[in-house]
Symmetry: C2
Subunit: 378 residues, 2 copies
């Protein structure tokens, strides 16, 4: 029996884990979940045209509100027809609130219950982001899925400081919910609380009362380590309503994704496939490939045997290595295409295993054979 909410339908629930396969219905199309969305920070997934992105099987992309509000600015994107037209992506788009980038990239001037004053990392301009304008900005951008403003404490933050961040996150979520004016957009609340399960529990419960279209788990994948992350994800997903989509923000490596799906997560985003691609690292089912290695010079095999991506169908490892060596853009383009396709193949395999009711066994085999380690994060 399927479980439904406004924009989300669970089609298959795994009996041996918390994994589920579903459909996320947005204004710009329906997404099969679990889903991975590549990151188009400044309105472009680095190195790929939307046509190439579509060819990888990608159904949802993320854009960063923080970057777009600073450059080219919200008014400009509105005048250019909104975010879908601007990015030339007619499928579903998710924007974050700007919070995370604001904490990691800008110079913070002041943070209090009313919001965050900061200096732009581009030109030093002093600006303020609060729950109300973070929501208005995302309403104006026009993505299909938008996020509440949250306070993202750095890894290691604890005690009163962490508690305060959770309280602000809850208060801001309420203000975002109130400010949200576009029923075509799903608004997701973000659970914070570091690795403190009590705080995560408190935050979850308060957000659930507000009845969001879905719930994100924020503030993970920032240094707490794999075990703490999964423990926190596991504890948090248990508390979230079954019928709403769940989004683990900014995670991550293939094994992390598989493990988090097992804990009931539906949506993922991460810069790894494109960032690693640009740096000459390919994800493959046989583990990471460093294309610049001299062992690839005369290797006429594709980057990954049996991969159906444009790069693997057409180019040898030797050619791709040469493009990196000769600083030809094509190298970064090809490995980014391959890595995004790798992630899409991973998500398709996850969905298929859930569909076939063999996800838990499959996941255990994958994680046991995991060929990626933390050190591969470049």
């Amino acid at each position: 029996m399927s479980i439904k909410s406004a924009g989300f339908e669970i089609l298959v629930e795994d009996k041996n884990s918390w994994a589920r396969k579903g459909l996320l219905k947005t204004t710009h199309g329906t997404i099969e979940t679990p889903v991975f969305c590549p990151v188009g920070t400044a309105g472009a997934v680095k190195g790929l045209t939307p046509a190439q992105l579509e060819e990888t099987g990608c159904s949802l992309i993320l854009a960063n509100t923080y970057h777009l509000m600073l450059r080219p600015g919200i008014e400009t994107i509105e005048k250019l027809g909104g975010i879908h037209k601007f990015m030339a992506w007619q499928g579903p788009i998710l924007t974050d609130s700007g919070g995370f980038q604001l904490f990691s990239l800008s110079e913070l001037v002041q943070i209090d219950d009313d919001g965050i004053e900061f200096s732009s990392h581009i030109d030093g301009q002093k600006l303020k982001l609060d729950a109300k304008n973070a929501t208005e900005i995302q309403n104006r951008l026009g993505a299909d899925i938008i996020m509440c403003l949250d306070e993202c404490p750095a890894f290691g933050c604890e005690g009163d400081k962490l508690k305060k961040a959770v309280q602000r996150t809850i208060k801001w979520a309420e203000q975002c919910k109130q400010a949200h004016s576009n029923p075509d957009q799903m608004l997701l609340g973000i659970v914070q609380g570091g690795t403190d399960e009590q705080l995560r529990s408190f935050c979850s419960k308060e957000l659930i009362k507000m009845d969001f279209d879905g719930y994100a788990i924020g503030g993970l994948g920032i240094g707490e380590g794999n075990t703490n992350m999964i423990r926190t994800v596991s504890a948090t997903t248990r508390l979230l309503p079954t019928e709403k989509p769940r989004y683990l923000m900014g995670v991550g490596m293939p094994a992390d994704i598989i493990t988090a799906v097992r804990e009931g997560v539906d949506i993922f985003d991460c810069v790894l496939p494109t960032r690693n691609g640009r740096n000459g690292y390919a994800f493959t089912n046989n583990g990471p490939l460093r294309i610049r290695n001299s062992s690839n010079i005369e290797d006429s095999n594709p980057v990954e045997e049996n991969c159906d991506c444009y790069c693997c169908r057409n180019f040898s490892r030797g050619a791709v290595r040469h493009f990196f060596n000769a600083s030809e853009m094509l190298g970064a383009i090809l490995l980014s295409v391959h890595n995004i396709r790798f992630y899409q193949r991973l998500m398709a395999a996850i969905r298929e295993a859930i569909e076939k009711k063999e996800f838990n066994d499959w996941a255990q085999r994958q994680i046991k054979n995991d060929k990626y380690s933390e050190t591969q994060k470049t």
Copy 2:
């Protein structure tokens, strides 16, 4: 009545000029002429995948022997399956002899009748290129059209020095012809002689005696100016056999191409569409567009109205400007795609005008309305 040689067939000759429309038959496919080929210096047309290149209507691409022999090296390309497989381009490919890049990029050690000693611009390695190995290297690379080694004197070279360069070019052409061992590849001779019509005439006659598969005009577009270039092209094409294809190397701007077609040239190559694209300059029928101009910030029009390229079908000027401003690779990719499509549309219009027997009038209107000036060469 059509005029035929081994790999070339002239379908239509313009009555009011020397222009002709034809078919160039190569081992990897037939090319409609006049043709423009984008430059894939190091085995990649900068920023474009072969699939994107094909979508622009491109039928022939050029790769630089000098760059490829230095990196990744001929043996590596052979082991990776030859140049078509290496570049993932199954259509016709043209390689130059390495001469021009050698004169412009490397540190020359010594040049005499036997060949050219030089230091690699990449690692300083001392190497020698002569007629025999320049031909052998191109035989091994496996392009469809290959070029004789020539001496390319810098602009301003005259007197005995220019004469000596022509003599060497002729001698080397003879040695190339003798060394050429692959009947699947067309070998083209290169006419040198600066802007000296007598030397051009001498060089042409000597090369024609050797009966090449086609003839190139080299050593132009290097600073002699538009008038001298066209005068030299005009004088040279008159001497070349009608039934063989003619190639004006490294030229150039749209008006130069139209003028040279009028003088009977069939093949062109130039880095301008991709180089200008990367630098934020677009070719349009209304003249050059500098995408970074602030007037484009909120411009929701395409780069060029009525252009059918991927960029113009999908993106606004405002979005493309933003990608340049935010240093997103996508900006350079989109304008390179547009510019190559612009050149392919230009060549299609040239061929159509010849076909319709109205080329000379059409060409005069185009050149009169030319919106590009020398200053646009960036």
